[in-house]
Subunit: 409 residues, 2 copies
């Protein structure tokens, strides 16, 4: 039997799982401090809730099946459709509703480097406010979250989808479908350059490609963007914010402000993106609620944090002390010492198997535990303990009374 | 379109989701402080990994389907089989491996009060140690976790499956299957009493039912249990621990020590249970690794915590301050104040829509935010802010310079 996980699925062993916990906890703390509240929705949804919301290509990637009651169901594909459903059935939710949601999503995609069939998505959105302060807060919070993860220098590109579309309207023959197609090409400008985009547009049959690139490039910030930039400036964000008239974002549903955050020096793409989407939330056209938000991919964040060496100074290992067991005879002393330290709030492990002392010390070393306590005949006789500091190799023998002060900050 | 979640599945709106986060974070902190490490495994497993591990009845409850690549897959049914799989394919994991795992599991059960098809399971286990210190640590940690959630008085029932089976061996005609069947009845003794169990055993055809109850009831603690009780005593746990010769636990796989934790005064059943299972982990009989652990149901914990009113004193709402917006003219001042407070590490929201002041204050009240800051013409003129304390109704006007000291502890 092949016991490896399914393709595109992963086990997260402790080292990786600790990083995930650190990132998720950090994000939750930032979101809470901005007044956002957690939401959780089911993994399985009725298939009719999911289908037709993401486009035909995406529909094919939904994990769908018949459950035992012959209902057609599907695994959560993103966190926006569930948000929309929750808003629709909880009409007494106080608005604006500021929620974050960090949950698994599933896509039956071709697994490839950095792409998985099961991954953790993190969304934060404000539903029910057209105010540009909401847009401002979303950008601020996304940046703050990245800052708290240890990233230092950012470039935040911002554009306005609505005014981009207005500018494309100068080209009379363009249908809405044409405009979306142009947007998809414009989105690649950071990767393939202006010439690359012009070439692609011409291949798509847009003869005025060069003219489009020129006019879009010369366009000015919309009135909305001016206000948002002004708000951001008042909140201390100025240099990092750049108007990017070519920014389009992949998803079709954005209606106004859109943004992407890049880390300076890191070339692998944006770390966060989002924008305003005023015609998506709600399950009937008359009841659309305005919304603005952003998305992080947790796997991608961790990948970049690893590349940028950001986990280096984060204490992911929380056990401070390993209490060894010298022999059955002195087990009692070890147990009591563990108990003493735990009562002081110190994180402590006791070594479990009967082994030689050097094997016990190796275990601590392997697990990244800094201090090892030894209680042998010499120590017990004098009511003392020997404390070995594995980070320096030094050791000291102190009395049991001194022990809790030793570890407290 | 019916937008309600599927039967047996739930949305967790902020109030509930916050409680879940609090419980899960608390448990993780306790587990880490005992040297346990996190593990995460995929939601979907190959069906052959899941089938045949839980018994025939359970197999029927597995959510199974064919994925797009025609592989038979199933949703995670518990956290023990995935642990076993991870151990089998990572033979270089340092042993003993102490892991916790808090993840969703799915069971296509009949939904009924308190039973769901999707719920969060929390397991902590030590794999690779036969030492009775491991048993001791597992009991201590389970109790500590409940204590940190706010529970105060416990009764921890402990028994030894192995010696229970030994005692049943006095009755010569009992097969292993018979013994398991007797155990299932014994397990109900707290609910239906001795007479109830005797009746049930007799109905099952065990003529010596009364004799069985008597002999089991008179049995003494096994050698293992004596050592575990002695260890626990040295670590300060004595009164709460009770030997219960009738305790059997539902699951068949336990081999030695088993335990259940009850909260005094709460009649709804045990909050945690676990034990030693030395012949389950590993995918071939020669490679079994000894293991001991316990399980919490997160939903059940929250349900009991609500009944016992334990969330009362836990600050689940983290926003301390709402900064109101008096009018467009004074927006700038509000933005700057928000920024000032955030730079001091204070959790603050700004009101997003243009509304009258009393509506903004109502929003704060509804969300449980204690302080509201008002910046109107009078305040701005004098470089002051008015702070309203919604918990008392009182308000004070102070200078901008004093503002951060006001909120810092």
């Amino acid at each position: 039997m092949n016991l490896q996980p399914l393709k595109g699925f992963r086990d997260f062993l402790p080292e990786q799982a600790r990083k995930r916990e650190f990132v998720i906890n950090t994000l939750k703390k930032v979101f809470s401090s901005y007044g956002f509240e957690p939401l959780e929705t089911p993994s399985l949804e009725k298939i009719e809730i999911l289908m037709g919301k993401y486009g035909q290509e995406a529909d094919k990637l939904i994990y769908r099946f018949q459950d035992l009651g012959k209902r057609e169901v599907g695994l959560r594909y993103d966190l926006t459709v569930p948000l929309s459903r929750v808003i629709a059935i909880n009409q007494n939710l106080p608005l604006p509703f500021k929620r974050y949601q960090i949950q698994t999503v599933w896509r039956a995609d071709k697994p490839q480097s950095g792409r998985f069939r099961e991954f953790t998505q993190c969304d934060a959105d404000i539903v029910g406010s057209k105010s540009l302060i909401a847009d401002t807060e979303i950008i601020l919070m996304a940046k703050k979250a990245l800052e708290k993860l240890g990233f230092k220098k950012f470039i935040i590109y911002v554009n306005d989808r609505w005014s981009l579309f207005q500018n494309l309207s100068q080209f009379k023959q363009l249908s809405n479908q044409n405009k979306l197609s142009i947007c998809q090409s414009l989105d690649k400008i950071k990767k393939i350059g202006k010439d690359g985009v012009i070439k692609e547009l011409e291949e798509k049959g847009f003869k005025e490609a060069e003219q489009i690139i020129k006019i879009i490039g010369e366009s000015l910030k919309s009135k909305d963007l001016n206000i948002i930039f002004d708000n951001l400036k008042k909140m201390g964000l100025e240099e990092e914010i750049k108007f990017d008239p070519y920014l389009t974002r992949g998803l079709d549903y954005y209606t106004n402000m859109i943004f992407e955050i890049y880390v300076e020096n890191y070339q692998g793409g944006s770390l966060a993106g989002g924008g305003r989407y005023d015609t998506l939330i709600g399950f009937s056209a008359e009841k659309y609620l305005p919304a603005v938000g952003f998305s992080f991919g947790i796997d991608r964040l961790i990948e970049v944090m690893e590349k940028e060496n950001l986990f280096k100074n984060i204490p992911l290992q929380s056990t401070q002390v390993l209490v060894t067991v010298f022999s059955q005879e002195y087990l009692e002393n070890s147990l009591q010492t563990v108990s003493l330290l735990r009562n002081k709030g110190i994180s402590v492990e006791i070594y479990l198997n009967e082994e030689k002392l050097d094997k016990q010390i190796k275990y601590a070393d392997k697990k990244g535990i800094r201090f090892v306590i030894i209680l042998g005949p010499n120590e017990v006789k004098k009511n003392e303990v020997t404390i070995k500091d594995l980070s320096t190799g030094s050791q000291r023998t102190i009395t049991l009374k001194e022990i809790d002060n030793f570890f407290l900050p």
